[in-house]
């Protein structure tokens, strides 16, 4: 399951969707909106996407995780649009036979997402609007 959506994330549904009969665990990562960023207070956030490319990139990252770590299923749901403090931004769930590969695969997916998937956050802070930009190398 790879999704980019405006609606809130149904974490339980995603978690259920990755379970298989042969899985011994599901590892989940939930990213949420923090109320500070580099010393500034954050009031809310909006997330922009290049959707066609984001879905392609997330699918590629999922396939890499399945291949590299031998996990069973990987799901990624990322929200776009306006978000408030505490709201969910992204949920990643990985099922596997054992926890080691599930944790590693989950970590791999969030790290790669932050480098390669065309999504951008704009924070509305006490000092005004700020685009957050990563530091990806070409």
């Amino acid at each position: 399951m790879i999704r980019v959506q405006r609606e809130d994330i149904d974490v339980d549904a995603v978690l259920e969707a990755v379970k298989t009969a042969g899985s011994g665990c599901v590892v989940g990562f939930l990213g949420t909106v923090r109320d500070t960023s580099e010393g500034r207070g954050v009031e809310r956030m909006s997330v922009e996407v290049y959707e066609d490319m984001a879905v392609k990139q997330l699918s590629a990252i999922r396939d890499e995780a399945l291949e590299r770590f031998g996990v069973h299923r990987v799901a990624v749901v990322h929200r776009i649009g306006d978000l408030g403090v505490g709201d969910s931004i992204v949920y990643i769930a990985v099922s596997a036979g054992h926890r080691d590969e599930a944790f590693m695969a989950c970590r791999y997916v969030i790290d790669e997402l932050k480098e390669r998937v065309p999504l951008w956050k704009k924070e509305y802070t006490s000092d005004g609007e700020v685009w957050v930009e990563g530091d990806r190398r070409e």
């Binding site: 996407v49 290049y50 932050k114 999504l119 685009w131």
Partner: protein, 80 residues
């Protein structure tokens, strides 16, 4: 030849547009096109990190762009 260009996030603000159709010389590379766009938009010229994707995929800078390609320019990503 004509190509379709898209801008995202701060680059959309800098260029004042989401997309445009652009007439470019045949044989232009991704790197050449990036220099061309930086020449058109002063605020983008100062940026060290201008990422480029062609048809939704990161490609090497020496890749030649062809008629009808969708070329996207954007800053380093910040999802998650």
């Amino acid at each position: 030849m004509r190509i379709h260009v898209k801008y995202f996030a701060s680059f959309r603000d800098m260029t004042g547009r989401r997309e445009e159709t652009m007439e470019v010389p045949d044989g232009v590379t991704v790197e050449g096109l990036r220099e061309h766009v930086k020449g058109l938009y002063e605020k983008m010229a100062d940026r060290d990190q201008v990422l480029v994707a062609v048809n939704g995929v990161f490609v090497p800078l020496e890749t030649v762009v062809v008629e009808g390609d969708d070329v996207a320019f954007f800053p380093p990503v910040s999802g998650g």
